[in-house]
Assembly symmetry: C3
């Protein structure tokens, strides 16, 4: 029953009362300051986290993945032989091409081919005749497609046959309007050439780019050229030019390029939860410690008051 009246005594003491009020104000200001500091820290962390999220969202990483395949779906090889004539088209394995027989003469082949006539997509609107061949598929056994062409003496400046590669031969095969399909291909794909009098060995690899809206397929090529040793008689050789081309897959990898967004909004929210929790906890600690300091201070004042009361009562009792 002593404690409470003692406190009342303190409170009723005008000096102590003033002292306590002052103390309380000081600590309130301190507490407010700590609160503000912590809020600033939390807001800064939150800002940084959100900025990082926005940054990641706006600058997606393009991921390049190499997907291994066992077999490719047959690509389409569109050849524009012009006046040249297809002599043979044959599949070979282990990148081994047997010696030529009766070169310059048509030979049996085993290719799936398709002829498409269409008007060129550009302003001159010339009629184009494409010979589309189904390409190699068995990359493990190094399947190659070997084509031979012959061309009579021409007025062309360069002995060249143009070709174009597109993703799937079957897309053409299944297409209802093959002319439109080929026009589209010509607009999208790049043209290449190979030379007469040489064997051009084309190693193709596929690059698949998945954009936001559409998916595009593109071929990368590495080619090497070797001279043809013409063993035909001079007259025969003079009039007719021979073309040899080999198509092979470079390696069993399809390069896939896709946007990957490393920013995850929920992840960001989850991180922000942690930040605000830390803010609350720190505020808690601050308020707790301020209260504790006030309590200590009060007890100290009380004890001093009690002592003063004790002394004054002793003085009175004398």
């Amino acid at each position: 029953a002593r404690v409470l009246p003692a406190e009342d005594t303190v409170d009723s003491n005008p000096f102590a009362l003033f002292n306590k009020a002052c103390l309380k104000n000081v600590f309130t200001v301190l507490l407010l300051f700590i609160y503000l500091l912590l809020t600033a820290v939390a807001v800064f962390l939150a800002y940084q986290t959100i900025t990082d999220f926005m940054e990641k969202l706006n600058h997606p990483v393009m991921s390049v993945t190499y997907k291994e395949v066992d077999v490719f779906s047959p690509p389409g090889i569109a050849l524009y032989p012009g006046t040249a004539q297809l002599l043979s088209c044959k599949h070979h394995y282990h990148a081994h091409i047997p010696p030529l027989v009766t070169s310059g003469k048509p030979q049996p082949g085993d290719c799936v081919t398709e002829e498409v006539t269409y008007t060129g997509p550009y302003n001159n609107h010339t009629v184009k005749k494409a010979l589309v061949v189904s390409g190699p598929t068995d990359v493990r056994n190094r399947e190659v497609v070997f084509l031979q062409f012959s061309q009579n003496e021409t007025e062309e400046d360069f002995s060249a046959i143009t070709y174009m590669l597109f993703d799937r031969y079957n897309d053409l095969f299944r297409s209802v309007d093959r002319s439109a399909f080929m026009q589209d291909c010509e607009r999208n794909y790049s043209m290449w050439t190979f030379s007469g009098g040489f064997r051009t060995w084309v190693k193709m690899s596929l690059v698949k780019t998945s954009g936001k809206a559409n998916e595009s397929m593109e071929f990368r090529q590495e080619s090497s050229v070797v001279k043809y040793n013409d063993k035909r008689s001079g007259s025969e050789q003079k009039g007719v030019q021979l073309f040899f081309v080999v198509f092979e897959w470079r390696d069993p990898y399809v390069q896939e390029v896709r946007d990957i967004v490393t920013a995850n909004p929920w992840n960001t929210v989850a991180i922000l939860c942690g930040v605000f929790m830390a803010l609350f906890k720190a505020a808690n600690f601050a308020s707790f410690s301020v209260k504790w300091v006030i309590k200590i201070r009060k007890r100290h004042l009380r004890n001093r008051n009690r002592e003063l009361n004790h002394i004054s009562s002793e003085i009175q009792s004398r």
Copy 2:
């Protein structure tokens, strides 16, 4: 001593009792609802965080890094000259090849070479003879290896010498079973050719792919071909075909492709900590505010009761 009985009075008042019980039920339901909502939010965030983790785990980003080197370790250049003969092999710098002297004749060289005979890895099991040359290393000074071959008139259809590049010449040098080593190489690496009558300049670059289990090295090549101006006499020229090839590093960068898993399980756990802390805190707030509302309501009722008591006692005292 007044306060507690006052509350007892409230509790004993049947209407107030009913009122308080009803209030408590309503707030319990509200509290439960808030709890459920918060749990749902936390579970959703946790689910998203875990999903993101799994997504990242299953779709590793393939990182393409370009590592700059000062010198390369010498690559192995395995040449399959067949009936052709090595005339010279020399290192040059600054990509400058001095004019040829006595072309078609063997000349002194400075290459480290090694001959390996082995049976081909494919079903025909032909014996293959590879001439392995230690490639250029000093990419900064544009070191090139220049090789010349001559081949007598052959029955081959194409004037071609096949070659293959592998990662380190020293691996062959240190290998105990060189035939097995070369068989392995042939299975894994791609074959290339260069043509007679031309100088083929091969620019190689190295791509290192680190998969989960194994590491593979692969060469990318860009080659350019220029015609040889044969200045030998007609008869000499007729019988013997000359081959020239130059190997050079494209640039001082090794492209390293590796899987990088951006998902870190501990990171995910750390993020989840934040989520669940937020849940607890929010639940705390909810329960605290509900208790506070109950307290306010109680005090209000108590005050009203006291007033009623006061009024009734005044009535009684009259």
Copy 3:
């Protein structure tokens, strides 16, 4: 007034006092253990999060981005024709080159060119004469630059014209010291060649690598070579070699390679906040549950004591 003295009774009971002290010690140890365990978990998570951050910081992901452009700024094509002479330089569209007229004779062109003479950057310090041509820009309409050169019978071993590609023709144009500019280019860029008697079709693509300090531009090339059908008279043909080269953009994409640091320090700090919050909360729970167990135990002891007191008082009253 009954409750407090009852507790005093318990405290004054030596056996119960010992019991309570023992219980308190056991729970203090338990609490300490739980605290340590939680601290270990939090430290582990923090360690993992920081390790992940350091790992990401030290192994930046190189991001490969494909930026689509509508037009390229004209690249610089530096040609080193040596004794060869430029016959014509013309821009064509849709990758279509019309038939040659009066081949071997100079023809009107429409190229922007610039001649620069400078000393080579390597030790031999030869004077070099570069003919710099402004390259194609309109990739959408497949703009090509077609150049023809003629060279009189030379003593050179190989019919080759060297060229070099650099990023922007305008950089040379605006440069104050063009010789120094070209020297720099030669040091940084790779040299290429094309052959006489052939048409070399160069498809270029641009790779921009942004390192920490500097930014580098590099060209990737895919080239194909086709034979020139020389229709000039024998004598004319003998003495003069013709060169044809075509420069075209491969595709409208600029490949940009940049380091992206997936590690964000503030993000890591934010995650750590969550971890430490979880630690505090768990510690809170542990201390709360231990206090609760102590309370339960105390109440149990008190109840037993009360019963004992009751029994003893009953015994006394008998």
